[in-house]
Amino acid sequence: MEEGIPMNRQIKVAVLTMEGTNNEVEAYLSFKHSGTSPEIVHLKKLENKSKRLEDYDILFFPGGFSGGDYVRAGAIMAARLRSTLLKDLEKLVEIGKPVMGSCNGFQVLVELGLIPNVGGEYGIEAALAPNISNRFEARTVYLKINKGNCLFLRDFSDGEVVKLPIAHSEGRFVTRDSDILKGIISNGMNVISYSDEMGRLQGYPWNPNGSEQNIAGLCNKEGNVLGIMPHPERVFYYVTESDWTRTEKREGMGSRFFSSAVSFVREKF
């Protein structure tokens, strides 16, 4: 049987929400304008089995303040998912379907242990701690792409520098120990790094939160789970980029994350 989804079959995307998430509409529209059939799915629908994760081709965790960001950012959503849906999530990841989380979604993925997962046992190996600046950092940042095998970066070039918006107060990526960090680096999982406009890794304000190794986005070893602190879904079109009046009409910087995932699913599933 030939691999890939026929063009007449819509790719189904679940944009997962609960109380406090607030980027689901941007994510929904980004996937819709990428030619898929997205759906905003409340966590309760999965918990009560009226929706099933296995029915979707792509899973997206949007940004926001899930569970009010109480306890820690992403902790409440992760704890609920862990108690009822962890096996389903692990299965989705293991069969290679694309899973992505931006900002609060990244925090949820890390709290769940789905990334970095250097050890392969879905243990908690990292955290997104409060920014060193102790401020809510909301602005545009430069990011250097080191695409590796990350499926969400297929439509980028290696070494390319892009600009995306950030908006977070808990984005400082820290690892449990030096072995985890070494594993991330040696496996090329640190696919997106805070940089200056030339792609050089620098300290604050280029690195807005003090992340280890300037890590802004992280893919698992297999390349199908991406967590990223910036918000690609907020710049699907170039007119929502901060300097759009000084640039020529083109695709938004964020759109390629979505087109990459869509082309991957069309080819592989």
Binding site: R72, R82, A126, A129, N131, N134, R176
Partner: protein, 75 residues
């Protein structure tokens, strides 16, 4: 009825940026003898039944991320 008091703090090795801001503010207020501030959260939890061992589960499953936090249950 069991009453629990659980304190979650950052590990000593983890930069506590809120603590650093409070330290700076206190020194600006003239308290120059303040040399360190660490912050944390205290949870007061009441159980209808059960025992204090449950508190360890609360720490592991929700209240603390073992990478950055310490979770202490008052005896």
């Amino acid at each position: 009825m069991v009453e629990l008091r659980i304190t979650v703090t950052f590990k000593k090795t983890v930069e506590d940026s809120e603590g650093s801001s409070v330290l700076k503010a206190l020194r600006l207020l003239g308290y120059e003898n303040v040399t360190d501030v660490r912050t944390g959260k205290v949870y007061f939890i009441t159980l209808s039944k059960g025992n204090r061992k449950t508190a360890k589960d609360f720490c592991e499953k929700l209240l603390a991320n073992p990478v950055i936090n310490e979770c202490v249950v008052d005896e």
